[in-house]
Symmetry: C2
Subunit: 96 residues, 2 copies
């Protein structure tokens, strides 16, 4: 199944910045970063359950937000990109 | 058609911050903000063409990035939200 994962993680505190890195790391294990806080993932059912579980255990549910969208199978063809096509190195410090 | 619009706009310069506000404003005219740089829009074909045209004319294609995803019609039921459900006032200064 094709997923789009978008997230807002509080980055004022050190803990928040750490959660941000962990969220990116967890998503990176299952897919491709396409924007600063947006990942495209193609996973099976068990990977989906695992990824969701990981994300639920990383974030602070009071201050952070993750949205997981199920994309159409042909999303690659129908997705429109305007401007820069971005590639990221999740290990490097994130430019906020 | 249901769209998900995600964007990364450079915010180091004043011009970039202005573009960020204009992108949010353009998306707000057609939908609902669900995260800092993520909007859900439900538009017809002509609104889609208009919105796309507006966004293309706002951003700096070298430094900014907009992605427009076509969502499944039942995306409301299938979208998973972990953590905070966020509502925004696009007029107020964006918390970066």
């Amino acid at each position: 199944m094709k997923l789009l994962i978008t997230y807002d993680v509080e980055t004022i505190t050190k803990e928040g910045q750490k959660r941000l890195r962990l969220v990116a790391k967890a998503c990176k294990d299952f897919g491709q970063r396409v924007q600063n806080s947006v990942f495209e993932c193609d996973v099976d059912e068990s990977q989906f359950v695992l990824l969701k579980h990981k994300l639920e255990n990383i974030i602070d549910k009071e201050s952070d937000s993750i949205r997981i969208y199920h994309l159409k199978n042909n999303s690659q063809q129908s997705t429109i990109i305007i401007g820069k096509i971005t590639s990221y190195n999740v290990e490097s410090l994130l430019m906020i």
